[in-house]
Symmetry: D2
Subunit: 156 residues, 4 copies
């Protein structure tokens, strides 16, 4: 069966060759990302990853990452993924997102991924996930699927 979510990066139209610089500038312009200490790990066409180290300042009552922080990281990854496919000077805003919280967000570090499922001139539909790494040294084979998101972004 073909996977419905893999894609060939080259299949996307990338109107701004300087997309990576633009995405990094916008990401750095998000005070929340600085406050969280989040970092951009990957900026490819329609495909962005954000890293986050566990920090007890952002937890809920059981010591897990708060669902709103999960949403913050994955929404940002989705928004940045949509931004990679926008023309120079364009920015995006979130129209809506829906997140399913699959497991408690426990771990030493996390990766939020966002990918464009359907590009468009005005709207972009994206898919995102949060992955937990139990230890700082855990590898992809140890990662745990914490949350999954569908989000719509609009060009601004």
């Amino acid at each position: 069966m073909m996977s419905d979510h893999t894609f060939d990066g080259s299949a996307f139209n990338v109107p701004d060759p300087a997309f990576a610089t633009r995405v990094r500038d916008i990401f750095e312009g998000q005070a929340l990302m600085r406050t969280l200490g989040a970092t951009l790990l990957r900026v490819a066409p329609g495909d962005v990853e954000i890293g986050f180290e566990f920090n007890a300042d952002f937890t809920q009552q059981n010591g897990f990452l708060h669902a709103g922080v999960t949403a913050s990281l994955v929404d940002t990854a989705c928004g940045m993924a949509a931004t990679t496919l926008m023309p120079a000077g364009a920015d995006v805003l979130s129209v809506e997102f829906k997140v399913n919280l699959l497991r408690p967000a426990a771990g030493a570090r996390f990766i939020a991924s966002g990918r464009v499922i359907k590009p468009g001139h005005t709207l972009m539909v994206t898919h995102g996930d949060l992955w937990a790494f139990p230890q700082a040294t855990s590898t992809d084979s140890d990662r745990v699927h914490v949350a999954t998101m569908q989000a719509t972004m609009i060009r601004r």
Copy 2:
């Protein structure tokens, strides 16, 4: 036409008479709420409001409140609303939520409201909203509807 979202608080079964204390304890146990400086404004059966003062540390690239912070506040209001209807000792976790971002989250202060739409033994369906107050002195007649949420909570 009857409104579909009003409710008579007395219609809810409130198994824990000390629900307000329990909710306040859980809220205070959320490090994220402390980090945000959010406060509990109202704790009634199935109906909770949270206050938040604008803080530039939690913004996105245009200086508006980040959509993930909007989600954090409204999800917490929804979770606390569900908690009011739980028995003593019970806690809730978010199963999923969906937020529509209606307008840029600009304002001097914000109120996140959460209400139980459908109580249940295991699952509770809630509705939440974020309201912006343009000035610190703005009243309810000036408030702006920034976001609306549907969220499912599960007893833990």
Copy 3:
């Protein structure tokens, strides 16, 4: 506390004075609504209701209305509500919707309601509900809240 979902119909800008005729034409152009035997009960600015009589052809394995039929009725009510606020000649498509199924969809008849929460030139955010009436003669005081929806519509 002000209700967040009531609205004064006069507050909406209604650019097409013939909106009701246009909505009825579009509704009648939906073959699915004819197949379901659904009828338009109310067409007001930003506010539409659709009636549906129980029909065993559209049930799931327990004899309840199928969740997809619930979604069909409420999504259509939301789309028609958005259409009331569009200019002459304009049509809408659903961008996304999320439905929470609150109770089994059992009843003799049903009313799907859709209302515009946030109008806009391109996008409209709507809220919808499905109400079940246990008997054909049941009144609003007997109705049961079966499902609640948030939906985004786009002008076409």
Copy 4:
């Protein structure tokens, strides 16, 4: 990068060895599926596909498949996928679903797929998609991604 949605079917715990028969019985018990003329194409652990031939009785005003029919097919695929992982005698109900409509649902035939993303004793989180095949003879390489869904199912 690892795909977040592929899975090894053997990784699922399948408590009922007769799951395929049980799923087929439940599917055939859904009057809506008979009314739509939908058929089960694939029943594997946590992975179900449903086929649907275009039928003008189920369209919206532009002649595309109605978004509610899209939701009906994908929700059923998700529900049946969850059912494959349930013990003998168990059934599922939809708790909630969210669908993003990516393109007009135009085609000669359609396949709705549903997969379990997170199994659980009480709740199962699923992902679904609708694929359009422009011609009856179109193959997977011609298929078009029409809609994507996240859905939560509960054991009944």
